[in-house]
């Protein structure tokens, strides 16, 4: 067991010493002795304070010292040291859709995972994989859940740092292993800062990334009007990567649309027209490969109607291919969902509730191009290219493992141990109270 605040432990020890000293300075009556000139001794309390070579009331003293030491230990934020090797590993496994072969990634991660270490898996969220029942390394076997989500390295670093602080107890150093293709979309603005939180190097095991092929002209707008404001923006759209086809329909999806979208790599975007609704100044952000925000007069449109139309039109297809839970791909400035994506068979359907007014030059501006690009990405989000080796090298840092002591400096106390020590201190205080009552009687 180690302590995050050893000063409190020292304070507890000092307090215990003071308790012992007070027991040596007990107010017991000194031994009697005859002195004929006792009348010349100043009158004072006969039970004056006297020093003793041995502490009195040993049981009381034991209870008090125990209580003070336990309180000091409890407030010193105890951390239980875990058994295991001196060098432990935290393996971060990328399970996002950017990984070409999850099985290979899992095998590589498993090879680097040691006993007493931790496994962190991440896609859009990161979580620490619990150890198996034998107390050894956690399982790296890939899960069967769909991997439609992109990976977020920032989240992975947060959880990995937290896991590193936990496994650092009782170790000398901790090795962080990142098994990932390091795709572009996995980096964000916080990645560098959160990487700096890890006080050591990172061993990067790069795996193959999903390769997208460019296909120009894959986005098609199905609109009832010829002067649809989306048309010029779609015309400017450059789908540089992604072997997918996108159909943007302004009318509720038909059965044909539903049948079309069930094919692989197809995206159906239902983006209704606002009609005569009056736009108001608003802001909306789309979360694609690159986050895009537009601030303009817009119309907030409900998202439920589109789903109903889709269900009516694609009832047969959905019966054979159950829909995957939606993911949010755009939000209004107040957090309200502005666009969602639902997987359907091998493709996906997107509902966009952002009403773009016919009047104005919104669709002619660059922010709208980026917003549109985020809405027409492949199902599950766009796959960026893997970062260069120099970027990966910068991410890896030097060759020095993270010091367990530096990691432990940011660790949190073991609440269970602190609570146990606090409870024992209370028990000791209760025993002291009972003993004191018995002594005073």
């Amino acid at each position: 067991m180690s302590f995050l605040a050893p000063l409190m432990l020292a304070i507890g020890a000092l307090a215990a010493t003071a308790v012992v000293a007070l027991h040596l300075l007990t107010t017991r009556r000194p031994p009697k002795a005859v002195l004929p000139t006792a009348r010349f001794v100043p009158v004072s309390d006969a039970s004056a304070v006297a020093r003793s070579s041995r502490p009195t009331d040993l049981l009381l003293l034991a209870c008090r010292v125990l209580a003070v030491l336990l309180l000091g230990a409890a407030f010193a934020q105890p951390v239980l040291d875990l058994p295991g090797p001196s060098v432990r590993s935290v393996v971060v496994l990328d399970r996002s859709a950017s990984v070409a072969d999850p099985a290979v990634a899992a095998r590589l991660a498993g090879e680097r995972l040691t006993a007493g270490g931790a496994l962190v898996v991440f896609d859009t969220v990161a979580r620490e994989q619990s150890a198996d029942s034998t107390g050894g390394a956690p399982s790296t076997a890939p899960r069967t859940a769909p991997r439609a989500a992109s990976g977020i390295l920032s989240a992975a670093f947060v959880v990995a740092t937290r896991a590193g602080r936990r496994v650092a107890r009782g170790a000398d150093s901790v090795r962080l292993v990142l098994v990932s293709p390091l795709a572009e979309e996995e980096f964000d603005a916080a990645t560098d800062a959160l990487r700096a939180e890890w006080p050591g190097s990172i061993e990067i095991v790069r795996v193959a990334a999903v390769t997208d092929t460019a296909r120009r002209g894959a986005v098609r707008l199905v609109s009832a009007t010829v002067d649809d404001p989306l048309a010029p923006a779609i015309a400017r759209l450059d789908v540089a990567r992604g072997a997918h086809e996108v159909r943007i329909t302004r009318a509720p999806p038909s059965a044909a649309d539903s049948a079309w979208v069930t094919a692989p790599e197809r995206v159906l975007v239902y983006w209704p027209s606002p009609g005569d609704a009056v736009p108001v100044a608003d802001g909306v952000t789309a979360f694609g490969l690159h986050t895009a925000t537009i601030v303009a007069p817009l119309v907030r449109m409900p998202l439920d109607g589109s789903s109903g139309a889709l269900r009516q039109g694609a009832a047969r297809e959905m019966a054979s291919a159950p829909a995957v839970p939606s993911r949010v791909i755009a939000r209004w400035r107040d957090g309200t969902v502005a666009a969602t994506e639902s997987a359907l068979a091998s493709g996906c359907v997107r509902s966009v509730g952002v009403g773009v007014p016919f009047a104005g030059d919104l669709t002619l501006r660059a922010p709208f191009d980026r917003f549109l690009a985020a809405l027409v990405e492949p199902c599950g989000g766009a796959r960026g290219r893997a970062v260069t080796d120099s970027v990966a090298g910068r991410l890896a840092g030097g060759a020095q493992l993270a010091s367990a002591r530096r990691l432990a400096a940011g660790a949190t106390a073991d609440r269970g141990a602190a609570a146990l020590l606090l409870s024992l201190a209370l028990v000791a205080l209760a025993a002291e109270w009972l003993l004191r009552r018995r002594v005073t009687k």
Binding site: P30, T37, A38
Partner: protein, 285 residues
């Protein structure tokens, strides 16, 4: 003379004389100058013959020259009875105070007896007062020693009532923790009657400089006095005890009483020599 453990002490004070501080009343011829005139061969003065004088004491040659009858007078010497009053209260049993008192009395009695003075003893004992009337016979010192050895200090008795009424020498050996004021007055009256008063104040080293060990000290003569003697009160105790002893010495000497403070670790024969010195231990007559 069977004097037991006092033999060495008696040897040490052998030859020491204890002259009276003032002429003594006439009486049995002794070593001290008497107030009366006698018929010794030494000439002192003439006095006119009065009826009733012994005609043999008339100086016939002076009668023949002056035709007047004169009596030839010479200085007279007498003995001085010495009574020792010993305080045998419980406080005297502390440390070496009682032993010191016994040795002082035996040694001073031997010194007085060596001048053929009768010596007596009064012990204010725990249950009763033991008296040995002043005697000049041989063996009285041994008797005094035996009497003292047979007594163990106990409860206190007032000493003032034991002071003799005769114009003799009275030596009180006490720790002055009893009826000091009454004793001082009695000794002053004794001196006014022509007697010689001595007060030997016995203290113990432990009383003068108690050890620093904390303890609850109890007065052996008054158990209601029970006070903690701890390092914090030690200095105050020493100061108050010192002031009291100085006050006792001043007041006793102010009454013309010979005063001597004696510690229980003192050399007894040296103390005896100071006590018997005509100038007294404090340089006063």
């Amino acid at each position: 003379m069977a004097v037991g453990p006092y033999g060495a002490l008696l040897d040490a004070v052998r030859g020491v004389r204890w002259p009276a501080r003032a002429p003594v009343p006439g009486g049995v011829p002794g070593a001290h100058q008497a107030r009366s005139r006698g018929v010794a061969p030494e000439f002192a003065e003439y006095r006119p013959y009065r009826q009733g004088d012994d005609p043999r004491r008339i100086d016939w040659k002076l009668l023949a020259r002056s035709d007047k009858a004169f009596i030839r007078l010479a200085p007279d010497h007498a003995t001085l009875g010495t009574t020792f009053i010993v305080d045998a209260s419980a406080s005297m049993s502390f440390a070496g105070k009682w032993m010191l008192a016994k040795r002082l009395v035996v040694a001073l009695a031997a010194v007085a007896h060596s001048s053929a003075d009768p010596v007596g003893l009064v012990i204010a004992g725990p249950s009763s007062v033991r008296r040995l009337p002043p005697r000049a016979r041989g063996g009285v010192i041994a008797e005094i020693a035996r009497t003292l050895d047979a007594v163990s200090p106990g409860s206190s008795q007032p000493l003032a009532a034991l002071v003799p009424g005769s114009a003799a020498r009275c030596v009180v050996v006490t720790d002055a923790l009893g009826d000091l004021d009454e004793l001082r007055l009695a000794l002053a009256q004794h001196r006014a009657r022509g007697g010689e008063s001595h007060l030997l104040h016995v203290v113990s080293r432990e009383e003068l400089d108690p050890s620093a060990e904390s303890r609850l000290v109890v007065d052996p003569e008054d158990e209601t006095i029970e006070r903690p003697l701890v390092p914090a009160t030690l200095d105050s105790y020493r100061a108050r005890f010192g002031e009291w002893r100085a006050d006792v010495a001043q007041r006793v000497r102010g009454e013309g009483i010979a005063y001597q403070e004696v510690c229980d670790d003192a050399v007894v024969d040296a103390v005896v020599r100071r006590v018997v010195s005509p100038r007294g231990a404090d340089g006063r007559r």
